[in-house]
């Protein structure tokens, strides 16, 4: 009886200590206007990366820009003004953060660019993570010089994109050991052709009001340049309204596939055909629509294994009355829709989800769900009082594949957007950084507990140095190495596993190169770097 009471009390405690850190003096400037420019409600991304390889996660935040009503032509978002800079915060040894934006060379992201998201990956395999910042306008590739500074190499690399880019991610689609780059684009829209909807309510327009557009796939040439292979790869054969992207090898053929979360239409699953081309198979694979065959407002996405069956599943965040989509990987190249079975019907049918992650927050061996939430429309309550513009994030713990809501510790509803996941204080417990419109980033520091854990860093040799695309299995759990997923954001590339009561672990790694490594009797509660074997 006493034990039960103690357990219940423990369950009632919030999982995180939610902080707005004084040092992170960043405000996400989305600059809402009466014009209801759609970009206003869409930023901004966050990345957790160790840019200086000191073993501590640093935080990069993407800002929007200044909008005026109406916008002049040519558009100018005043990104030279420090209020509208993206920001890089270096973590110090005492856990505090220092703004190093200017000294790192990341201050001005271009007056013509309204910032959206960020991708992180070591595209030149020099051991230092590089940054790719997406925008409405032009995107920027920042090469990490390894000395605490970055250089804008966009022009040389040929990855500026154009139009309205949203989420992006690095992955190695052809297993050549060099990270390629996938960039989602939302729609054909610009401020001159903006409109507002909703009659007297004056709301942001639904995506169907604007033409769909193509995503971009850049192939890494290995010499600091990329080639746009959107057309020959088949990626540009499908127009969409993409907001989120995530990578995993869903059919176990050794090649990384791509899931694209589209807004207001079918979702896209690009199957990697192992010859440099992709085929979009979402509909026939059962991962395109809701259980009732309805279009979804896909926004954020995570492509990881939630039920510990070794296969990557897909969770897509959406608008209210749609229920966040859970596509369970059935193992035969198809998916089944399991939102209701997993408990997400009751948890998410009234919410709007953006950044999303599957992380084992309580180290019990099951990946839990965190979603940044908040409606698209800033006046949604006046249209439908049952919906809310400002929401608390969703934290749902995974109990054998079924999610149950718990207190995250957050008490202030916000218009949540980006979310990145990682172990900020290296205590073995996963933390979260979430962005929200018009405010400072929220840091969710995990209170921790007594369960064991193991965090693995991959060091690719034949494969890409980050090991992205590797399948890592630990004590019956599986993670697919990536920093991509969520919405506009990039997470800690280290792979975290909760071990529960286990003090030892067996680690199996299937590298993109085809090399398979197995490590037995690995001690729990450590950060383990695994270097890819030189030989198969």
């Amino acid at each position: 009886m006493i034990t039960l009471a103690v357990c219940l009390a423990a369950l009632a405690d919030p999982v995180f200590d939610v902080k707005i850190l004084r040092e992170l003096d960043f405000t996400l400037q989305n600059s809402p206007t009466p014009q209801k420019y759609l970009i206003e409600t869409m930023p901004g991304g966050v990345a957790l990366l160790d840019y200086n390889n000191d073993g501590l996660l640093d935080i990069f935040l993407v800002n929007g820009g200044r909008l005026t009503s109406p916008m002049p032509s040519p558009e100018n978002f005043d990104r030279h003004d420090p209020r509208y800079w993206n920001r890089l915060y270096r973590q110090n040894k005492d856990g505090s953060f220092t703004d190093v934006t200017q000294q790192a060379g990341l201050a001005n992201a271009g007056d013509g660019n309204y910032g959206m998201g960020v991708a992180v990956g070591d595209y030149d395999n020099d051991g230092f993570p590089d940054l790719y910042v997406t925008s409405y306008g032009k995107n920027i590739l920042y090469h990490n010089n390894g000395d605490g500074t970055f250089t804008d190499v966009t022009a040389k690399a040929g990855v500026a994109g154009g139009g309205w880019s949203v989420s992006a991610g690095f992955f190695d689609y052809d297993n050549d050991g060099k990270l390629d780059l996938f960039v989602t684009r939302y729609m054909e829209w610009d401020t001159r052709h903006s409109k507002d909807c909703g009659g007297n309510y004056h709301t942001y327009c639904p995506p169907e009001e604007f033409p769909a557009t193509t995503n971009i796939l850049y192939h890494n040439n290995g010499d600091g340049t990329f080639t746009d292979v959107s057309q020959p790869s088949g990626i540009a054969a499908r127009k969409g309204r993409a907001l989120g992207v995530a990578f995993a090898d869903y059919d176990g053929d050794g090649y990384t596939d791509v899931f694209v979360a589209n807004d207001g239409m079918q979702q896209y699953l690009f199957h990697n055909k192992r010859n440099g081309t992709f085929t979009e198979v979402g509909m026939e694979a059962g991962a395109a629509l809701s259980e009732e065959g309805r279009r979804l407002s896909g926004m954020g996405v995570v492509f990881q294994d939630y039920d510990n069956d070794g296969r990557p599943d897909i969770i897509v965040t959406e608008l209210p009355r749609e229920i966040y989509g859970v596509y369970h990987n059935d193992g035969n190249g198809t998916f089944s829709y399991r939102s209701l079975e997993t408990g997400l019907g009751a948890l998410t049918s009234g919410s709007s989800g953006w950044g999303v992650g599957l992380e084992d927050f309580d180290n019990d061996g099951w990946k839990d769900l965190f979603v940044a939430q908040g409606h698209v429309l800033d006046n949604v309550e006046s249209i439908d009082p049952s919906l809310h513009y400002l929401e608390l994030p969703l934290l749902a713990m995974n109990h054998n594949g079924r999610f149950e809501h718990v207190d995250s510790g957050s008490t202030t509803p916000v218009a949540g957007r980006g979310a990145a996941f990682g172990d900020l204080n290296n205590d073995g417990w996963q933390d979260v950084v979430m962005t929200y419109l018009g405010g400072h980033p929220q840091v969710f520091l995990n209170h921790g507990g007594k369960s064991h854990w193991l965090t693995i860093s991959l060091r690719g040799t034949r494969s890409n140095r980050d090991g992205f695309g590797a399948k890592v299995q630990v004590n019956g759990q599986t993670r697919f190495a990536t920093s991509a997923g969520s919405y506009l954001s990039a997470s800690d590339k280290r792979l975290h596993f909760g071990l529960g009561t286990a003090e030892k672990a067996t680690v199996e790694i299937s590298w993109p190169s085809g090399i398979h490594q197995k490590l037995n009797d690995v001690s729990a509660d450590q950060f383990l770097e695994v270097r890819e074997s030189e030989k198969p």
């Binding site: 629509l289 035969n332 829709y337 408990g343 009082p385």
Partner: protein
């Protein structure tokens, strides 16, 4: 029509030749769609034959054809002074008065000619909603699916309902039924907290009042509070064990919470109480599928498809069947169902958007 009758009637009357000429000219002008000329000709008839009621009717009708309903009233009234039983005059005067907003004055004339549609419309305007409903129902029986009659019947019924509720609220403001009615009003206005409060007050006053738990459950369902919705729908099923909708709603609330097995049991009961309801069959298939009973899911959806062929629910059933067959490895069956789904979805879910080669970026 009136002109033709008039000509026949005039054949037996003594009329000055000058008046007869103007009468003929007026009728010809009407045929030629020259209402201003017709009005002038008929006015001359009334001047030459001031006791000829039909001349005033013709003048009134010409005004009405010229959409000058106000000017039509005086000659038509004059016609009825001369001949109070002149049916065309009653009909035209009734219309003219109604179009000018004089509904109460129009009613006796419309009653005289038993024009149910116009009478019903006039009675809506004078607040005689029960009579309006009765007359418009009779009009609808005579003219099925007439859009105007359907509209006014709907409006009269709504106003009658509102009148009853207003009377209830005025006479018994603290009654359970008043709180229920207020709850329904707030629900329509999407003021869910107010609706919830009113329904609770209704239940405090009369815990055994039917439908209120059902309506309160709908409030919770609309606010995504599925556990509370389940509780209320379950209460309704206990109170009304023969209410198929209550079992259907309960099943749907359970389904939203992922309680597939329980949902299925309630949906089976709903189907037994009111068999072959497509919505119930669809949800039953969904619950059975979630419950792992593919055979039962297939049976429910096929039954639905035997009832509905080309509705959104039929499309959903095809989509559900495609998923079932895909899971079972029946690829050809899955593809066939997907094709049916996509055929029914035409325009609803667009086909994959294929980009033109030159439109990449």
């Amino acid at each position: 029509m009136i002109s033709a009758i008039l000509l026949l009637w005039l054949a037996g009357q003594s009329l000055s030749s000058e008046a007869a000429q103007h009468l003929q000219a007026g009728i010809a002008a009407e045929k030629d769609r020259q209402p201003a000329v017709a009005i002038e000709e008929f006015r001359k008839v009334t001047e030459l034959e001031p006791n000829l009621a039909e001349g005033f009717v013709q003048l009134g009708q010409a005004y009405m054809q010229n959409r000058d309903y106000g000017s039509a009233i005086t000659p038509l009234k004059h016609a009825l002074k001369i001949d109070p039983d002149l049916v065309p005059a009653h009909q035209l005067l009734g219309y003219a008065l109604l179009t000018q907003g004089f509904a109460a004055e129009a009613i006796p004339h419309l009653q005289r000619v038993q024009d149910k549609t116009a009478l019903g419309i006039a009675q809506i305007q004078t607040g005689q909603f029960p009579d309006a409903v009765a007359n418009l129902q009779a009009a609808l029986a005579a003219h099925p699916n007439d859009p105007d009659v359907l509209y006014y019947l709907g409006r009269a019924s709504g106003l009658l309902s509102k009148q009853s509720i207003d009377t209830l609220l005025a006479a018994y403001p603290e009654s359970a039924r008043s709180h229920q009615a207020m709850g329904e009003n707030y629900f329509v206005l999407r003021r869910m907290q107010d609706a919830e409060q009113e329904y609770h007050q209704a239940l405090q006053l009369r815990p055994d009042i039917p439908e209120v738990h059902l309506e309160l459950g709908e409030v919770y369902a609309g606010a995504f509070q599925w556990a509370k919705a389940e509780e209320e729908f379950r209460a309704e099923t206990r109170m009304q064990p023969g209410n198929a909708e209550a079992f259907y709603r309960l099943g749907a609330a359970l389904l939203e919470q992922g309680k597939a097995h329980e949902a299925r049991a309630e949906l089976v009961r709903a189907d037994k109480l009111l068999p072959d309801m497509p919505e119930t069959l669809y949800s039953l298939g969904k619950a059975a599928s979630l419950d792992g009973d593919a055979a039962a899911a297939e049976k429910a959806w096929l039954k639905l498809l035997a009832i509905e062929k080309a509705t959104p629910l039929a499309a959903q059933a095809h989509f559900g069947l495609a998923g079932l067959y895909r899971t079972q490895g029946k690829t050809a069956d899955a593809q066939r169902e997907m094709q049916e789904f996509q055929r029914l979805q035409q325009g609803s879910v667009p086909p994959q958007q294929t980009a033109k080669p030159d439109a990449a970026h």
